[in-house]
């Protein structure tokens, strides 16, 4: 292992170790927040695979997050499935929908791709509302506590919830790290940087981008399913446009094309809202101002800027 790789593994494993220790150190409120942030970070990591590494700016990722949420929630709530089967169903729903959307939307690029993904997501959101007798639409469904037991672990308990969120986050982070350091990960970046040159080198842009989008959908689906199981609620609001924008903000804030950027962005955004709301009723103005500052002074996000200014080894 060379020096760069050692640093990379030390940093990422160190973050996971710190998160493991945080549960014992932090007050229950902040531990609960971290559990939520880790799940949302998995979602943002998925978005980052498509956007940050492959250059696919999607405005429809809420569709995949919502697919994971409802893919888990509907069978659990309506058919009495167990949490494990629900989790797999959510994962499959996220990946499956990403495949279907990718097959159609990847025929377009740039702004057209954004618009097509946005339209698909809106169609998905309205579909959830249309089938309200089953989905309970905007109001949503409560996932019964009895159904939130995975391998004998009660996910409604704070400590278990945290560990489950950390396990998911750790798996997602390590897979993400391995992916971006793999030959395929480099091809993804090549697509982002210069699609035509990549094609000339013999790579099929459509296949690469489709694979990246499906991976992204699997991440989003896993995050959606986990969110429903860990917090006991499934609602159409999670499939709305707002939840397509959120991972974009997380990634831009933390650093697009960095493995830890989505987590950092999700955590900062969460606490920015949380702390600002305790100080002023105009907390959304504070968030907006913070994003403006970011765009003006650190357009590559926090970790992206750090990478430019010395931490060149940062994946």
């Amino acid at each position: 292992m060379n020096g760069g790789a050692a640093k990379i593994w030390a940093l990422h494993l160190g973050v996971l170790a710190a998160l493991l220790a945080a549960q014992a150190v932090l007050p229950a409120y902040h531990a609960g927040n971290l559990a939520r942030i880790m799940v949302l970070a998995v979602y943002a990591m998925g978005f980052n695979i498509a956007f940050g590494y492959t250059g696919l700016l999607s405005l429809g990722h809420a569709l995949f997050f919502g697919a994971g949420l409802y893919g888990m929630g509907m069978p659990v709530a309506l058919a009495g499935w167990g949490a494990g089967a629900g989790l797999v169903a959510g994962l499959a729903a996220g990946g499956g929908l990403a495949l279907a959307v990718g097959l159609l939307a990847l025929r377009r690029a740039g702004v057209s791709f954004m618009i097509v993904t946005l339209m698909f997501a809106q169609a998905g959101y309205l579909t959830i509302l249309y089938y309200t007798p089953y989905t309970r639409g905007e109001e949503g469904i409560v996932i019964d506590r009895a159904a939130r037991v995975l391998m004998g672990l009660d996910l409604s308990q704070d400590a278990t919830r945290y560990c489950a969120a950390l396990a998911l986050f750790a798996a997602a982070l390590l897979v993400n790290l391995a992916l971006v350091r793999s030959p395929f990960g480099r091809v993804m970046v090549a697509m982002r940087e210069n699609e035509e040159r990549s094609r000339m080198l013999g790579y099929d842009p459509f296949r690469v981008k489709l694979a990246a989008l499906v991976l992204s959908g699997l991440y989003a689906g896993a995050a959606g399913a986990a969110y429903g199981l860990l917090f006991g609620y499934v609602g159409a609001g999670f499939a709305s446009i707002q939840y397509s924008i959120l991972p974009l903000l997380y990634v831009l804030l933390g650093g697009a094309g960095t493995v830890l950027g989505p987590f950092l962005g999700a955590a900062l955004m969460f606490y920015l809202i949380d702390l600002a709301s305790g100080v002023t009723t105009a907390h959304l103005l504070v968030v907006g101002a913070a994003l403006l500052v970011l765009v003006l002074f650190a357009p590559k996000g926090i970790l992206g800027t750090l990478r430019d200014r010395g931490l060149t080894w940062l994946p």
Binding site: E138, E139, G232, Y233, G237, D274, S277
Partner: protein, 428 residues
Amino acid sequence: MTPRLTGPTPSRRRVLGGLAASGAALALPARFASAQSAAPIRLGFQLHRTGIGAAYGRWYERTAQAALKLVNEGGGINGRPVEIVFEDDGTDPRRGAEVLEKFAGPSGCDAVFGALFSHVVVGTAPRAGELKMPYLVCSEGHHVASGSLNRWTLQPGITDVKSQVQAMAPWISQTLGKKVTMIFPDYAFGHDHRDAFAPAIRAAGGEVIAQIAIPPTETSFTRYLPRIPAGTEVIYHVMVGPAVLTFVKELGEFYGSGARPEIFGFVDSLEAVEFASPGLEFLEGTHFWEGHCRYLQPDAGEHERPYRAAVGVDDSGASLADARDISTYGHMFSVWETLFILKAGMEAAGYRGPADRQKLVEAIEAMTEMPYSLEHPQGAKTFNGKTHQVFGLQYISKVEGGRLARVHTTSLEDGMYPDEVDYTAMSF
């Protein structure tokens, strides 16, 4: 003249104490405790300050502040001052749950109340159950009484849609017409109307001949209005959100000056909206459900004026400070009443701190009759501890001269229906 809290009673403190004694303590052994601590009781308020519920949130905050002032003037709760911690939930279910966690954690709140929108309530309730936090909602949704939530979630300050609709259907059928077209938001609140009204009007001899569901994010409604069948005798509308004024205006433009069916609306369609707004002239002669009459009625009860003065609302339902700032008068009483129920419950339970939260829930479950008083200015109510749902009076008003005049008041019994759940049989 100094407003009195209740008719015959001589002092405010005595009235507030009496409320606890006569309500909850009737069925639960009194556990009044002397104040062990001067530390304030802290109540979390899940406030729709931003998002789709912002128009309500602004007034819910004012109402809560007014009720808080009265509670503290009356000696607080169990001799302790009361504080309310307001947190914006963005009318968003995820943020709603996060805010509840904040109340339970760093804010150190003893109980939480105030949420109106159904998705926020349903998204928050699981966390309330897990954190064992008394969660008193003001949402009107049937989700509490239907049994889909948990033992820690109660709705003691406002009736649910099922009860409202059931109470009014006979009057609609007998007075306005029997063939009804419903226009409602394609949203759980609207679905409660859809699901409850059809059987209620059928039982009253009428029928629903069309149901037009409109997505809550819709901003123009003209394409929906031609779906109203020609044989419609009554249009039943209930809309929420920022586009309500557009909806009502476009309904007026659709019919123009020609013949139109009778129109029965829920005041939700016009909460925080001035009835004298241009384009609403066609509402003259139409009818509305009101949870609480926006315009001061000639025969208003003795507690109506003191309540209006306290919450800062004039005789027309507008802010005393700005006549253009129209209140959400038809609903905001729920916040006021819920705070007094929390007070009564805490006093009946001898509440000292978070370890007594279960006792608080049990004390509220033990409540039954809630007589008309300054603590319940909307009207007398009956609380069903098994279903965690209160039942109360409903008002039907007619637009006359650009104002709403009450023409009918339902009885408590009109809105009652068989229990669908027994939360008291559930574990904590």
